[in-house]
């Protein structure tokens, strides 16, 4: 529907001819889209019609307006009526160049090909054998293309993902490499550093092993030479602990207080703290940092972790680390937030003894390196590990002792164990997946993905658009086909309706083409003629339908011939139609020409009606009329005869007083009889049922006879009735009717003429004879003349005392004369001076005579039982 709306709204149309030709007119913009849509639409209709087993011809007239404002035409033709292809030729106009393209479609497989030509000659040459140079195997079905596109989308999507993964993976591998390098560097560095620290402790121990006693100055000197903050960053301090028994403590305190090797005053305040009883004491003796030695004298044996570590070191002779401990402040108290560890190395009297017992015996003290985690790791890691990695270090108990740049999410990680003097730290290093990738590298994966997705999306869109286009075309086609179906249904409905109307018409309807072949024959025609439409259709009507003259049986189809020759408005004829069974049926028929839009006669429509019943009715009516008139006359005649005889004395002498009423009765009766006669005449005249028997005769004897008959009546009134001598004149008329008219006219004159004469005279004219009745009577006023010829008109003004008439005489006379081709009129009349009534009769062979003859014959044919 919407296509049609669109088409029609653009002053275009889609029409369906009854013979299955679709006419498509389109005027609109010429775009490839339009052409494609229209082409697909037309092909769709063709396919549908093909599918329905119907042949359809599409004739499309398209004025496609291009931007150059030239017009194009789209035509479609069946080039291959019986072949397997729908061929649609489209003649377009582009850039003022003819553009002819053909769309071929194998309607079985739906394969389609389009051929373009810009040269009309070549196009028509090709069109003469359009399939010649086409290899239909090369044609890709539409669906394969679709799948190809789908496959391409899948491929693109797949390779996109694959590329994306590859890029990502490569980046990840690279990142991992970078990360791993970082990690290994870091561990090496830390291990190295820690190794250096241990080395430092070993070196320091050499100082003690090389001398029996190391005083404060010697210690300080060595300590300073180490340049801890410079060479061993991360070591908080290195202190020396002296191992003492309870007994040795007082002497030790005394010796320290009096050690003036570094400080001239010695350290008089030196004490042991906490001063508790232990099996052995590990007293912090030298701290190596001036003013930091405030925790000199602290007994590390008082702290279990430190004591066991120191004892283990003493026993093993190896550097040993504590677990995580809280570092002490100047007063020897543990600082809650400063965590770290000690690495201690036992100091013996000389080199490290071989056995445990010897080691215990030779043991003098410990050198402790104090590490603050924060300081240590900040120093070591900050130098080596890049900022962009996270580092978390746990001690051997699993507690986190260092945590930097903590990150979450998708990470790469590496966990390494760092052994330090018997303790093991776990360091976990974490970094983002694409660790170390630059922005471009990071974006690459995204770009690959985005590009692939975009490409696939575009292709999908192409596919979708194309599919949608096809769907739309199919929709258009089906909508249009629907339209056409509707239209066809309407056409069929109309046709059915027309046929229903035609078949329900009681009259036989027969339509002829120009050559007189029957092209339509309705049911009533079948019934009347007894012939079936199939026996009649397509043949000349004369072969099957014989219209005959009712009486003579002569062919009577002139009315049809007249219609076929274009004569319009022929009067209905009455003929008989020969039925198939040989019987003849009376029919009333008429025919009229059919004109086309140009006014040419393209055929005729003949209507005929069975008049059997009509005839019966007419006969009945006629019989009724006869019987009625007969039955009326019988009593009237009896009355009239009896009254006459009474008055004449046939029944004996009549009382004088009865004569007048009896005379009145007689006159009335006579008038009644005349009235009945006249009414009967009028009825017959008007129904065309009055019989006229035309003949050619000399008017003279008739006039003579009538004058002679009526002369005696005139004599009674002293009125002379004469015939003016004249030449013989032959007329064509019914002599009886002429007599009747003369009788009427002379009778009328006699009625209104009391004295003088009534003269009958004739005057021959060009093609007729005029007969005039001239009286010297009362005359007629102009007003009365007007109405004299009406029915039941009587001239009341002059009627007093005159014999009454029926008022029908003149009317009947004039009608009869006119029927015979003449006329009757008042030629002259003057009140008091008499009147002249005249009538004419045609000469034989005159046009009036011929016409009258024709009419009378026709009426005679219609009413064969005229009276």
């Amino acid at each position: 529907m919407f296509l049609r709306r669109r088409l029609e709204s653009a002053d275009n149309s889609v029409n369906l001819d009854p013979d299955g030709v679709i006419r498509l007119t389109y005027k609109g913009p010429q775009t490839r889209q339009t052409l494609r849509t229209l082409t697909d639409t037309l092909l769709g209709i063709m396919a549908e019609q093909r599918g329905a087993g119907k042949k359809v011809r599409i004739i499309a007239d398209m004025r496609l307006i291009t931007h150059t404002d030239s017009s194009a035409r789209l035509e479609s033709k069946w080039f291959l009526e019986e072949a397997d292809f729908d061929v649609l030729a489209i003649v377009g106009n582009r850039y003022l160049q003819p553009l002819i393209f053909f769309v071929l479609r194998d309607f079985r497989s739906g394969k389609k090909i389009v051929k373009y030509f810009t040269d009309e000659r070549r196009a028509s040459k090709w069109a003469s054998n359009p399939t010649r140079d086409i290899n239909f195997n090369q044609l890709k079905p539409h669906s394969r293309f679709k799948w190809a596109v789908v496959a391409m989308i899948v491929l693109i999507a797949g390779s996109t993902l694959s590329s994306w993964f590859q890029v990502k993976h490569r980046l990840e591998v690279e990142a991992r490499g970078r990360f791993d390098a970082v990690v290994s560097n870091n561990i090496e560095h830390i291990t190295d550093r820690l190794g250096i620290y241990t080395e430092a402790l070993y070196g320091f121990r050499g100082l003690f092993h090389s001398s029996d006693e190391v005083n404060e100055r010697e210690y300080q000197a060595y300590f300073d030479s180490l340049e801890l903050s410079k060479k061993y960053p991360g070591i908080n301090s290195i202190n020396y602990n002296t191992s003492l028994t309870d007994a040795e403590i007082p002497a030790f305190i005394d010796s320290i207080r009096n050690d003036r090797s570094l400080n001239p005053e010695g350290d008089p305040d030196f004490t042991i703290s906490p001063n508790k009883n232990h099996e052995e004491h590990f007293i912090v003796t030298y701290v190596g940092v001036k003013n930091v030695g405030s925790n000199r004298g602290v007994d590390l044996a008082d702290n279990e972790e430190r004591r066991t570590t120191l004892q283990a070191a003493r026993d093993s002779g190896l550097p040993t680390a504590t677990e995580t401990i809280r570092l002490l402040d100047a007063q020897g108290r543990e600082q809650p937030n400063v965590k770290g560890f000690l690495v201690t190395i036992p100091v013996y009297k000389d080199d490290v003894p071989q056995t445990l017992a010897e080691r215990r015996a030779a043991h003098k003290g410990f050198l402790n390196a104090v590490f603050d985690y924060q300081k240590l790791f900040n120093q070591t890691i900050a130098d080596t590990v890049p900022d962009n990695v996270a580092v978390q270090i746990k001690d051997s108990s699993g507690a986190v002792v260092y945590d930097r740049n903590h990150v979450t999410g998708d990470l790469i990680a590496s966990t390494v164990s760092i052994p330090i003097a018997g303790q093991s730290f776990t360091m976990e290093i974490q970094a983002p997946k694409l660790y170390g990738a630059n922005r471009a590298e990071r974006a690459l994966a995204f770009y690959v993905l985005a590009f692939g997705i975009t490409l696939a999306g575009l292709l999908a869109m192409v596919l979708w658009l194309q599919d949608r286009g096809r769907k739309r075309a199919v929709e258009l086609a089906s909508a249009m086909t629907e339209d056409i179906k509707t239209e066809r249904n309407e056409a069929i409905a109309t046709k059915n309706k027309d046929e229903a109307i035609l078949s329900s018409i009681g009259d036989g309807v027969l339509v002829l083409d120009n050559d007189g072949n029957v092209i339509l024959f309705n049911q009533a025609a079948e019934r009347i003629s007894g012939m079936l439409a199939k026996e009649v259709l397509g043949k000349p009507y004369k072969d099957t339908l014989i219209f005959q003259h009712e009486k003579t049986g002569a062919p009577a189809d002139d009315f049809i011939l007249r219609a076929l020759s274009g004569l319009d408005g022929e009067m209905a004829a009455r003929t008989v139609l020969k039925r198939k069974d040989g019987t003849a049926i009376p029919v009333a028929d008429s025919a009229a020409p059919i004109h086309n839009a140009e006014g040419q006669v393209v055929g005729a429509v003949v209507v005929f009606r069975d008049t059997t019943r009509e005839k019966q009715l007419e006969r009945m009516k006629d019989e009724l009329l006869s019987v009625a008139s007969h039955e009326l006359r019988t009593p009237m005649g009896a009355v009239r005869a009896n009254v006459s005889m009474i008055l004449e004395g046939d029944y004996g002498p009549v009382n004088k007083e009865l004569v007048e009423p009896l005379t009145d009765i007689k006159a009335s009766t006579v008038r009644l009889v005349e009235l009945v006669n006249d009414l009967l005449s009028v009825a017959r005249l008007e129904a065309g049922r009055m019989k006229f028997t035309l003949s050619e005769f000399d008017i003279q004897p008739i006039l003579k006879g009538e004058v002679g008959n009526l002369a005696p009546l005139g004599k009674e009134k002293d009125v002379e009735i004469v015939l003016k001598p004249c030449d013989p004149a032959t007329v064509q008329a019914d002599p009886d009717k002429v007599k009747q008219v003369l009788n009427n006219l002379i009778g009328n004159s006699l009625k209104f003429t009391d004295q003088g004469s009534i003269t009958v005279e004739t005057a021959p004219q060009q093609d007729k004879v005029e007969i005039a009745v001239v009286d010297t009577g009362v005359g007629i006023t102009p007003e009365d003349q007007q109405k004299l010829f009406g029915k039941f008109q009587q001239i009341t003004s002059v009627q007093d005392g005159k014999p009454a008439g029926t008022g029908l005489g003149l009317y009947i006379s004039r009608e009869m004369i006119r029927k015979m081709g003449g006329d009757l009129w008042i030629k002259h009349s003057e009140a008091g001076k008499g009147s002249t009534f005249a009538f004419t009769l045609p000469l034989p062979g005159s046009s009036e005579a011929t016409q009258a003859k024709q009419v009378i014959e026709q009426e005679s044919a219609s009413h064969p039982d005229q009276k």
Binding site: S629, H630, T634, G637, A638, A641, D650, K691, K867
Partner: protein, 130 residues
């Protein structure tokens, strides 16, 4: 005395015409239909016959046919006296051998007698008057 046969089914007309012809000096015999008329033709041997057309049993047309087919009855003048007034009827009866046809309602009894007189005396050759 001339003998006239009136064949008429209507009693009123039989009486009228019988009376008229009697007062006019005719010997009159009547019949009610064509069958009776044929019998009277033979038994009565009229000089002239007046016959109606519309009658039961045998109408005037058939009566004329019967006369025409009986050689013994030929030559007797027959006048049709009827109230049927069409020219066709007139033509038909004249063809069947009637000398004249008179319409009863239009014709004065005197005129009928006059017609009989004319025929019998051969005074006139005019055969019909409508």
């Amino acid at each position: 005395m001339h003998k006239v046969l009136i064949i008429e089914d209507e009693p009123a007309y039989r009486k009228i015409y019988k009376r008229k012809f009697e007062v006019s000096g005719y010997e009159v015999e009547t019949a009610q239909n064509g069958v009776e008329g044929l019998e009277k033709m033979r038994s009565f041997s009229p000089h002239i016959v007046f016959v109606d057309l519309m009658m039961p049993q045998m109408d005037g047309f058939r009566f004329l046919d019967e006369i025409k087919s009986d050689a013994t009855l030929q030559g007797i003048p027959i006048v049709v006296l009827t109230n049927l007034s069409t020219s066709e009827d007139a033509q038909k009866v004249l063809e069947k051998g009637a000398l004249a046809i008179l319409v009863k309602s239009d014709t004065e009894p005197n005129a009928i007698v006059e017609k009989a007189n004319q025929i019998l005396t051969g005074a006139t050759t005019e055969s019909s008057q409508l």
